[in-house]
């Protein structure tokens, strides 16, 4: 069942986001990068957030953890609760503590997320010393254990090396070791394998999934690759032009998408099962300019099912049988309630 997105079960969700908004002031007016997104995530579940560039998926998650805020010229709104605690109401110091202890983050490019002039072992131990109060020796010992856990051979030698001495896949393993060092409750992976090769991508995703299951962490996996989300997420939230347009359990999304954008995206993918020179069903047009959004559904100009209503009125994310979609003309009406 798709409890993680449909709301509270016993004890409430680990992460609860209500009406998250992020706007940036630009020359051309306010750019609504994230425009009223709500979702819940329960412990032990993986939520895949899928969208194209500019869909707001990265900005959304970065705003949750304070990486997008007033300092970067953004206007952030909405409510975020982690374990029932109002995150946005915390003081800067308490927020940093929460971030260090309860949330781990893995970014797309480990080359820029790791400090190039600090030894790897030290970087892993840093969080342990700050947030868990370990002394230098204990932190160093734990760092080596973590390197073993993320599958790095010769961990003692690697711990005293610098990031540039490692391959891309190894660097991402180190980034994961740093993210899980303080036993976080929530792991955020923002396009963790986009910069990596397919065969390495597989290993990194396997590692993330294993750690998530063993530790019972909740995970947010942000990706543009529907294939990555299909294999790893329990639930999927599809974003388009700053809004969540569909939310459901992974299998339901792939079996019977309700939102025409999700369906169009799935159908536009080249697949290994199709013979060569199969005509792809491309989505016409391109995503809207977020600073100049008119009325109505953002996807309407590219949608084959659009009606006058779609251009005049904006569909809100409605929930039907435990899944949400923002569309006046939902597809697969019969498939929707069968899960």
């Amino acid at each position: 069942m798709s409890g993680a997105v449909s709301g509270a079960v016993s004890g409430g969700p680990l992460l609860s986001v209500r009406d998250a908004r992020v706007g940036f002031g630009t020359v051309r007016g306010l750019l609504r990068a994230v425009d009223g997104v709500s979702f819940d995530l329960e412990a032990g579940r993986t939520l895949g957030i899928v969208g194209e560039s500019g869909s707001g998926k990265s900005v959304l998650v970065r705003s949750l953890i304070g990486l997008v805020g007033s300092g970067s010229g953004a206007i952030v709104g909405g409510e975020v609760r982690l374990d029932g605690q109002d995150v946005r109401g915390l003081s800067a110091k308490n927020f940093r503590q929460l971030l260090g202890r309860d949330i781990g983050i893995v970014f797309q490019d480990p080359m820029t997320s790791l400090n190039p002039v600090m030894k790897i072992g030290r970087q892993i131990g840093e969080g342990l010393r700050l947030n868990r109060g370990l002394n230098a020796t204990a932190a160093a010992r734990r760092a080596v254990e973590l390197l073993v856990e993320v599958g790095i051979p010769e961990p003692e030698r690697r711990a005293s090396q610098y990031p540039h001495e490692l391959s891309g896949g190894m660097r991402q393993r180190v980034a994961i070791a740093i993210a899980i060092a303080c036993e976080p409750k929530l792991l955020i992976a923002d396009e963790p394998t986009t910069a990596l090769d397919v065969t390495v991508q597989r290993q990194i995703l396997d590692l993330l999934q294993r750690e998530q299951r063993q530790r019972g962490m909740a995970m947010i996996l942000i990706t543009h690759d529907l294939g990555v989300a299909a294999g790893r997420a329990d639930d999927i939230m599809v974003m388009y032009a700053g809004r969540a347009v569909e939310m459901a359990a992974t299998r339901e999304i792939f079996r019977g998408p309700r939102m025409p954008y999700t369906e169009a995206l799935l159908r536009s993918l080249p697949r290994l099962s199709d013979p060569t020179h199969t005509r792809l069903s491309a989505i016409p047009g391109r995503p809207p300019d977020l600073a100049r959004r008119g009325t109505g559904c953002s996807f309407a100009p590219r949608c084959t099912y659009r009606s006058e209503r779609c251009e005049a009125e904006e569909p809100v994310l409605s929930r039907e049988g435990g899944r949400g979609f923002a569309c006046f003309h939902p597809l697969n009406a019969s498939a929707g309630t069968s899960a």
């Binding site: 194209e52 560039s53 500019g54 599958g151 051979p153 391959s167 891309g168 896949g169 190894m170 090769d197 397919v198 065969t199 390495v200 991508q201 597989r202 290993q203 995703l205 543009h224 690759d225 529907l226 294939g227 990555v228 299909a230 294999g231 992974t250 299998r251 792939f254 079996r255 169009a264 995206l265 799935l266 536009s268 993918l269 080249p270 697949r271 290994l272 199709d274 013979p275 060569t276 020179h277 199969t278 005509r279 792809l280 069903s281 491309a282 989505i283 016409p284 391109r286 995503p287 590219r302």
Partner: protein
């Protein structure tokens, strides 16, 4: 079908300082047939982009021959080489970086005509308009604008128009859709297929995404650390991969269907070796599940194991 392009024993090396060299491409022999799309697949460090640049002589390869349309490109210099270039064009991965930000779209698309000596401005305008319409750009809308006013997909259309305006025979497409958004990729792939049919093109299509390669390629060549692993027609390669690396690549692809269980790559754990210091013998042996002692000492040559199927492996999975 005759070969439009034939590379023989191509070798590309780059100095990387300290007297060391990267062997980006080693002893590659590969032909592209008239009218086909040859897919070239490989991960980063496989040498696929170096191969593309070497066959365009940008820069020329250290050793080996490139025979294109009756011309031995490696023996040509200066004017002679420039005269051949219009027949051999390229499309790049990053469409925005491949267009000069300070020039207008009409100038960018007309530049190949200017360079190749089409002096009549009305003739140039006519041909630029025609090719813009062919790639789905409205000439009146784009004419005086600059690249930064367009999205990645539109920029790739402009780049395709520039490559087509001289009516080339072969276009090398170096990861033409990997920088584009998922919803735009299908548009550009369809466009390439349409242009191929309309202009009678031959394509060398380089990509790391197997599903993308399969959708456009008649034949596929797989590269690993600078060497060819396998060359076969698309259908049989994807049905029954002969090289363990091809099989691993196929198993590693994330399939957009949660009901299809994740495949087993059977790879030994660990990352690909550095191209600076490739393993002896078969370069894939450090990750190969079937590697034996022979693989360490002996470089497996690319050999034909069935009609139209070549593989460089001592222990191929078929045949």
């Amino acid at each position: 079908m005759s070969d439009l392009l034939r590379m023989t024993d191509l070798n590309v090396e780059y100095p990387v300082g300290g007297g060391r060299h990267v062997h980006a491409v080693s002893d590659v022999t590969l032909a592209v047939r008239q009218g086909e799309t040859l897919g070239l697949v490989g991960e980063s460090g496989s040498g696929k982009s170096s191969l593309a640049r070497a066959l365009l002589q940008l820069p020329p390869p250290q050793r080996g021959s490139v025979l294109f349309d009756g011309n031995e490109l490696t023996q040509m210099r200066g004017e002679a080489l420039r005269a051949v270039r219009p027949r051999l064009q390229m499309i790049f991965q990053d469409p925005i970086a491949s267009l000069n930000p300070r020039r207008r779209v009409a100038e960018i698309v007309a530049e190949p005509l200017v360079v190749s000596g089409v002096r009549d401005p009305t003739e140039r305008t006519r041909r630029v308009r025609a090719v813009m319409e062919a790639v789905g750009l409205d000439p009146d809308l784009v004419w005086t604008r600059r690249p930064h006013e367009f999205s990645g997909g539109q920029c790739q259309r402009i780049a395709i128009a520039r490559a087509l305006v001289l009516e080339p025979k072969l276009i090398v497409c170096d990861e033409p859709v990997s920088a584009l958004d998922v919803s735009i990729r299908a548009q550009i792939l369809n466009l390439l297929e349409d242009m191929k049919a309309r202009f009678g093109l031959t394509l060398l299509f380089i990509a790391h995404d197997l599903a993308v390669v399969k959708s456009v390629s008649d034949r596929v060549a797989v590269m690993y650390l600078g060497r060819l692993c396998e060359v076969a027609d698309s259908a049989s390669l994807f049905a029954t991969p002969a090289h363990p690396y091809t099989a691993a690549l196929m198993a590693a692809i994330p399939v957009p269907d949660p009901d299809i269980p994740l495949g087993d790559t059977k790879l030994k754990p660990g990352d690909p070796p550095s191209p600076l210091d490739p393993p002896s013998g078969c370069r894939f042996r450090t990750r190969c599940p079937h590697a034996e002692a022979r693989c360490t000492t002996e470089v497996p040559p690319l050999r034909e194991i069935a009609a139209g199927r070549e593989v460089a492996c001592h222990f191929p999975l078929i045949g």
